[in-house]
């Protein structure tokens, strides 16, 4: 449930912040970890199919309604619901709609 989500997200956050992956080209800096803007027009939340907001600061795709955020790692958005973390914005919102 929610504990598993938080656990998974914590692992992912640690992995993301631990530095660049081996496939990075030199001189690209942190730019290569960010989401390609062209992808934004395709992506929606896999659970609700509603639009997402790209948060540049945290490098996440946020679903405000459900109060969840999907991480972007090495430029690749992780759109698997189990990988999303709950944002603290709406305490009354359900974390997951999965049956």
């Amino acid at each position: 449930g929610a504990a598993m989500l938080r656990g998974t997200a914590a692992v992912l956050r640690r992995a993301a912040s631990s530095g660049q992956g081996p496939g990075q080209a030199p001189g690209q800096g942190s730019g290569s970890a960010r989401l390609e803007p062209s992808l934004l027009r395709f992506l929606v939340c896999p659970l609700s199919k509603r639009p997402l907001r790209y948060d540049e600061a945290t490098n996440e795709l946020v679903n405000e309604e459900l109060g969840i955020a999907y991480p972007v790692i090495d430029g690749i958005p992780n759109m698997i619901p189990e990988a999303a973390r709950t944002t603290q914005k709406k305490p009354s919102a359900e974390g997951s709609k999965r049956p």
């Binding site: 496939g23 062209s38 395709f42 929606v44 999907y70 958005p77 619901p81």
Partner: protein
């Protein structure tokens, strides 16, 4: 753990399947809906995990293994798929379970050549323009070497996507190509988005094929095309025996020698046997709402390309 069935026992396993299914269903009463992992009976959650592990394990050797197992013929099958697609510049492709990028790269090559031919035709018509006008048209066309074509590669497995992305960098593919970690059963894309949806050697590994097909239908534009390339059932009895022999005797050994992983390749051959044959898959695709569903056998049904349209 994955049972290391030896090749000859695998044949008997098929016959013993009914008994094992019964034991499996007793075991599974508390654990959730039953499904298969190769010739084993597992819960859906176990299956997803096992399959994830298979591809995590084989990712780095995926391409080498494909070449060895199929003697390079998988390249031809993939070429045929993209030729059948015949994408024109400006096409939006979603390649699901596209992991290491084979279909995506072929798509890009195809639209790039198509685009070049388009430009050449345009230039031939520019006989009476001034140098100024010709060079201007060069500038504007140069920035669109793919003509706005785009391919989004979606895969559930991080390792496979990593390999694909590295390959793309290595081979010089960047424009018009994006990578998304997502589940075919629950796609993170809006409705009516893509012109073409492909899934090559991936649908066999999806746990709920019906959901994947429904999602495929949803994300395609009206008029969009669904294309599935997958191992299927061989109709010729002699070829079928040779194919079985090769599959169960040679492939897992290759898997062990080349990738150090017998079990994953044992899963591969078992999963091919478990996958629905051509007509059954056709019916499933029709159930998802697709029209004009058809299939084309390659190599007597070792592989088949299924196609359908969203109207």
């Amino acid at each position: 753990a994955v049972a290391g069935l030896c090749p000859c026992r695998a044949v008997f396993a098929r016959r013993g399947g009914a008994l094992r299914a019964l034991c499996g269903s007793l075991r599974g009463l508390a654990a959730g809906p039953e499904t298969h992992f190769g010739f084993q009976t597992v819960t859906e959650e176990e299956r997803r995990e096992k399959i994830y592990q298979v591809f995590e394990s084989v990712a780095k050797k995926y391409d080498v293994m494909n070449d060895s197992m199929t003697l390079g013929i998988h390249r031809v099958w993939k070429d045929i798929l993209v030729h059948k697609m015949n994408p024109s510049p400006g096409t939006l492709l979603l390649d699901v379970a596209g992991g290491t990028g084979d279909i995506a790269f072929r798509f890009i090559n195809y639209v790039r050549s198509a685009r070049e031919r388009q430009l050449q035709r345009k230039l031939r018509h520019h006989q009476n323009l001034s140098w100024q006008e010709i060079s201007e048209s060069y500038q504007e066309d140069k920035s669109k070497s793919l003509g706005d074509s785009q391919v989004v590669v979606c895969d559930i497995n991080k390792e496979m996507l990593k390999v694909g992305k590295q390959k793309a960098q290595h081979l010089g593919y960047s424009e018009g190509l994006s990578w998304v970690l997502g589940n075919a059963e629950e796609l993170p894309f809006d409705d009516d988005m893509f012109d073409v949806y492909t899934i090559a050697f991936g649908i066999r590994n999806v746990t709920r094929i019906d959901l994947a097909l429904q999602e495929a239908y949803r994300v395609l534009k009206p008029g969009g095309r669904f294309l599935c390339l997958e191992f299927s059932h061989v109709n010729n009895p002699l070829l079928s025996r040779l194919y079985d022999l090769y599959s169960f005797q040679v492939i897992p050994v290759l898997g062990e020698v080349i990738a150090g992983d017998w079990k994953s390749y044992q899963y591969l051959v078992e999963s091919i046997r478990r996958f629905p044959p051509q007509e059954e898959l056709k019916a499933m695709i029709e159930d998802a709402g697709f029209f004009k569903v058809d299939y084309q056998n390659l190599n007597s049904g070792i592989v088949a390309i299924h196609s359908g349209f969203k109207l």
